[in-house]
């Protein structure tokens, strides 16, 4: 099946700097969740910005359902109604003091009429479970609430693919759980989700597929396979997850039957 | 030195609003043109305005030992040029009136004239005059003159509104000038010093921005001086 979004041999260098990476390929299968892992500074954010049209590859192509993305104004508008990026720091995306005004920005840029904009805003706030924050000023919200508003701003464009840069950074465990539940509901409603992280436990708990970016190479595969490959994780300067390690020990000692899945959280034990 | 809401008689409040209006309109026209040419400038203007507001909320020690707030108009005029500073200053003054009750809505015109028109233009003029002698002396001159001009204009505004019973405008000028000079002249010196300290650091930490804003010359010989 054609992936919904893919990168083919993309390279990128910021103006006047050495290339961040050269020739990476990635396929995002439709309707699934993909975790992009790697240590800090390896280019995860750059790759996400390439996938969402925010940067243009110096070589290679980004493809939407197999067709190369056009970087004309129209082509970019088309891509952005399909793929939305949520940055790590919500303050980088929230420009309005009013939650409703901020979320309405994307739909208005699409040229939708006022009543449809209102409907989109209400829908996005409901999906993020923050309808009650509609009247609150952005600057009096907590970090976790601002994060949700930023995601709602992306959802208001009804993207088919939602791309999140370190979505759980700065959230406490309860906040992480709540956000993962919301993302799961989005996925169930048909949205494809890509998220970067350097937390292997988190990726193991949440992702269907994984891509590990290390030393300029991208390793891709099913999360269950890739995230249990300790040699690869070590090479990528990541810490192996508890779940697979515990599962292995328990199976070795016969506590878990051979075919049973690895535990995902300590509560599974 | 913000003239508080209701302090000026209605006729004076109206007159100063009329006097400030052409400058604000001119500044707004300049800005609109700039933003149309490069949309990303709108975000930089937002940042600049926020910076100006925060700068004017800093407490700085004055030479007399008391504490006061800088106007920030000199640095603003040097960094963003007087027309832009008139607009940013007007917005800042509006926010100060509504968020802090510093200055008022009917006195906005008078405050804009002293702090967002007279101060920036005088400060920028002084900055240009001294620029040949080097960046930092020019920055001191710009900030000092902008602050002092603001104070002088406000004094004149008050003296016009409340002339002395015997000696009229001149006497009132002396009275208002005297009572506010105690805090304002040391403050002007302090603001000049602070602005020099800030620009000296910016020369290394934000050389590219200063060059783009036209404060540093592109050859960057001053960046290391």
């Amino acid at each position: 099946m054609t992936p919904i979004l893919s990168a083919r041999e993309v390279s990128f260098a910021y103006d006047g700097e050495p290339p961040v990476f050269g020739g990476l390929s990635l396929e995002v299968p439709e309707g699934r969740t993909l975790a992009l892992l790697g240590p800090n500074g390896v280019g995860k954010t750059t790759l996400l910005r390439l996938l969402t049209g925010g940067l243009r590859p110096s070589r290679g192509q980004v493809l939407w359902r197999g067709s190369p993305v056009s970087y004309s104004r129209r082509g970019l508008t088309e891509l952005r109604t399909r793929v939305q990026l949520v940055l790590q720091d919500p303050d980088d995306q929230l420009f309005s003091a009013s939650v409703v005004q901020d979320v309405s920005f994307g739909p208005l840029n699409l040229g939708l009429p006022a009543d449809r904009v209102r409907a989109r805003v209400a829908e996005a706030l409901a999906a993020m479970e923050i309808a009650d924050l509609a009247d609150r000023p952005t600057h009096l919200l907590s970090f976790g609430q601002r994060k949700r508003v930023a995601i709602a701003g992306a959802l208001a464009l009804r993207p088919a693919v939602l791309v999140l840069d370190e979505p759980t950074a700065g959230l406490d465990p309860a906040g992480v759980d709540a956000l993962l539940a919301t993302l799961a509901a989005l996925q169930a409603a048909g949205t494809t989700i890509v998220a970067s992280t350097h937390d292997v436990d988190l990726a193991h708990r949440w992702a269907d597929d994984a891509a590990i970016l290390a030393e300029g190479h991208l390793h891709t595969g099913r999360a269950a396979d890739l995230l249990t490959d300790e040699a690869l994780l070590r090479a990528a300067r990541l810490r192996p997850a508890w779940g697979p390690a515990v599962g292995r020990v328990l199976r070795r000692h016969g506590v878990l039957p051979p075919g049973a899945p690895d535990p995902r959280t300590p509560a599974d034990l | 030195m913000h003239i508080a809401e209701g302090y000026l008689p209605v006729s004076h409040a109206v007159a100063w609003s009329v006097a400030a209006a052409p400058f604000v309109v001119h500044g707004a026209t300049v800005l609109s043109r700039r933003v149309k040419d490069s949309p990303e400038d709108k975000l930089l203007l937002g940042a600049s305005g926020a910076f100006c507001f925060v700068l004017s909320a800093l407490k700085i020690p004055s030479v007399t030992g008391s504490c006061s707030h800088p106007t920030g108009t000199g640095l603003g005029a040097i960094l963003f040029r007087p027309p832009a500073m008139t607009v940013l200053g007007t917005i800042t003054l509006l926010f100060q009136a509504l968020l802090l009750a510093h200055g008022g809505l009917t006195t906005l015109g008078a405050n804009v004239f002293s702090m967002a028109v007279a101060g920036p233009w005088a400060g920028f003029g002084a900055y240009l005059l001294v620029r040949r002698l080097g960046l930092l002396p020019a920055v001191f001159a710009g900030a000092f003159v902008a602050d002092l001009t603001t104070y002088c204009v406000t004094t004149a505004q008050l003296a016009l509104a409340f002339p002395d019973a015997e000696s009229g405008f001149a006497g009132a000028l002396a009275k208002f000038g005297g009572i506010f000079a105690v805090t304002q002249i040391p403050l002007a010196i302090s603001e000049g010093l602070l602005t020099v300290l800030v620009v000296r650091l910016l020369r290394t930490s934000a050389a590219a921005d200063l060059t783009r804003l036209g404060v540093l010359r592109p050859d960057r010989t001053e960046a290391t001086a």
Binding site: G53, Q84, D91, D92, Q93, F95, A97, Q101, S104, F105, L108, V117, D135, P137, T138, A154, L157 | A4, E5, G6, Y7, V10, A28, V35, K36, P39, K42, L44, G46, A47, G49, A50, F51, F53, A57, P61, L88, I91, F95, A97, L98, L99, L100, H102, G103, L105, D164, A165, E166, S167, A172, A174, I179, L197, V198, L201, L202, S205, A206, D209
Partner: protein, 246 residues
């Protein structure tokens, strides 16, 4: 972070249209400026205070704290009315205290009206509506952007200042100056950096130059709109009645 701003969002009047609140507070402000200071300004001040505390429920503490700076200015400035400068030097002015009292009363009343509006009407509700009054959209957008970034930058400033104090940055005058220079330049750098990151964040949402947003409609409620001119009318009536009595 800013007490008046926070009060405005929590205000029970939040759901009233800014125009109705502007009519109410503006009417009172007109009374403060136009009515004879005695007894007009005093009456207006009392009406404005009563409306603010009892009807709009602006927190008394916020109101009083905010009024301190403008009243301090009014008092200092009005000291000059007590003396007169003539050919034969400085002397006490005839009727000086009365003139000072009048100006301070007028200013105090006006400040309370201003705070009545500011303490009940968030800027996020007011700013986008300025376009309808003929303010250019670009200007309104820049103002709204400044308003949003203000809080991000203020927060940064507070944290940098705390960090400096923690490292003895306020220990001596020399240290204070060193801290202020660092603070000013760091805030500039952080503000500009923030603007550039916001540009990236907004580009993905389709930013091409206009920050158009949908403004939530706030209905103009008839009862409140009808009640809005009443405080000013009360101030005028009471002043006229008092003038006849006195």
């Amino acid at each position: 972070m800013l007490a008046i701003d926070a009060a405005a969002y929590r205000s029970p009047w939040r759901r009233h249209h800014p125009a109705a609140k502007a009519l109410l507070a503006g009417g009172l402000l007109g009374c403060a400026l136009v009515l004879p200071p005695w007894p007009g300004a005093v009456v207006t001040a009392l009406v404005a205070l009563a409306v603010a505390l009892c009807w709009a429920r602006v927190p008394a503490r916020t109101l009083l704290r905010a009024a301190r700076t403008p009243l301090g200015f009014a008092l200092t400035g009005s000291l000059t009315f007590l003396v007169t400068v003539g050919a034969d030097g400085i002397g006490w002015a005839d009727g000086g205290p009365r003139r000072a009292g009048e100006v301070v009363a007028r200013c105090g009343a006006a400040v309370l009206c201003q705070l009545l509006f500011a303490g009940t009407t968030p800027l996020a509700d007011t700013l986008p509506r300025l376009v309808r009054l003929g303010v250019p959209a670009t200007l309104v957008e820049v103002a709204a952007l400044i308003y949003r970034m203000l809080f991000v930058v203020l927060d940064t400033t507070r944290r940098i200042r705390d960090a400096q104090a923690g490292r003895l940055g306020a220990r001596s005058l020399q240290a204070t100056w060193r801290s202020l220079g660092g603070l000013g330049s760091a805030v500039f750098v952080r503000s500009f950096d923030r603007a550039r990151r916001l540009e990236i964040g907004l580009a993905g949402r389709g930013y091409t130059g206009a920050l158009t947003v949908a403004v939530e409609p706030i209905p103009l409620r008839t009862p409140f709109l009808l009640a809005a001119p009443l405080p000013a009318a009360l101030a005028v009536t009471a002043t006229l009645a008092l003038e006849r009595l006195l």
